[in-house]
């Protein structure tokens, strides 16, 4: 999967392109949030009724707020739906999440009260809702056999 981000203003441009290797499957999804904390990108179909894939985790997840003016709340969660953290993103700002790929840390996200924490939780699903008004999210999930 190729990811490109560019920031530009008058007289200034910053651009980087990333490449995430070995993605063997992908899911695209567009969802309108009409009730609190709709879930997508999940693997626990029986639990949440939203199974879009059957991989153990999301190797790389890219989500954008494509709504018109609302703030999108995105929660990451692991097996069983336990929340691991989240973000609030205004329109046009992307959210990217990874899982551990065997090059150091064992997971993609962690939260806690210790200032020495490192990512240990594999993100299995993304859950989103709006903070104000309804919202629309577009997502691209990259999946690996080991993810």
């Amino acid at each position: 999967m190729t990811i490109t981000i560019a920031v530009s203003t008058k007289g200034f441009t910053w651009s980087r392109t990333a490449s995430i290797a070995d993605v063997t499957a992908a899911v695209t999804h567009i969802s309108e949030q009409t009730s609190a904390d709709a879930v997508f990108g999940g693997v626990e179909a029986a639990a949440v009724g939203d199974g879009l894939h059957s991989f153990n985790a999301i190797a790389v997840g890219c989500l954008v707020n494509s709504g018109s003016g609302s703030i999108l709340k995105v929660l990451t969660s692991v097996s069983g739906g336990t929340q691991t953290g989240g973000v609030a993103i205004p329109p046009g700002i992307p959210f990217i999440v990874y899982n551990g790929a065997g090059t150091g840390f064992t997971g993609g996200v962690s939260t806690g009260a210790s200032n020495t924490i490192t990512p240990t939780d594999d993100v299995q699903r993304l859950q989103f809702g709006s903070i104000m008004g309804s919202s629309v999210a577009q997502v691209l999930l990259g999946l690996k056999a080991t993810s």
Binding site: A26, G85, G86, V87, A88, G92, I93, V109, P119, G142
Partner: protein, 126 residues
């Protein structure tokens, strides 16, 4: 000043390309970029002085990087960290949540490598 943040992600599988993308126009007070070398202890990339709208990080090394964001609400400390794999890009938005329900504007952004040292390219939009 206006700053434009453009994002695209794509992957081609079985001759089918899937993409997602966005563009945001931010009313910014400053845009700065640079490179920082971090070791295996968390090192500060940006502070709360002048709240950030977005921080874009690029892991240019060969090992994982952990990005720790300090969330502070009154007297309670909460931390959230996120992975950047080798050659990965990450966007740290202006507002994040912890699992204990602690929310707040991001106070400090710190990074560390899983091992050795890693160069991190960054762009900060305030």
């Amino acid at each position: 000043m206006n700053a434009t943040l453009s994002f695209s992600a794509s992957v081609a599988i079985d001759n089918e390309t899937k993409t997602v993308g966005s563009t945001a126009t931010l009313n910014a007070t400053s845009v700065t970029s640079g490179k920082q070398t971090v070791g295996t202890s968390y090192e500060m990339l940006a502070t709360a002085d002048g709240s950030t709208q977005a921080i874009i990080l690029h892991n240019t090394g060969a090992v994982d990087v952990s990005v720790r964001v300090d969330l502070q609400t009154f007297t309670t400390n909460e931390y959230i960290c996120m992975l950047i794999p080798p050659d990965g890009l990450l966007v740290v938005p202006a507002f994040m949540f912890g699992d204990a329900g602690i929310t707040g504007p991001n106070n400090n952004i710190l990074c560390r490598a899983a091992s050795g040292t890693v160069d991190i390219d960054y762009c900060i939009v305030r």
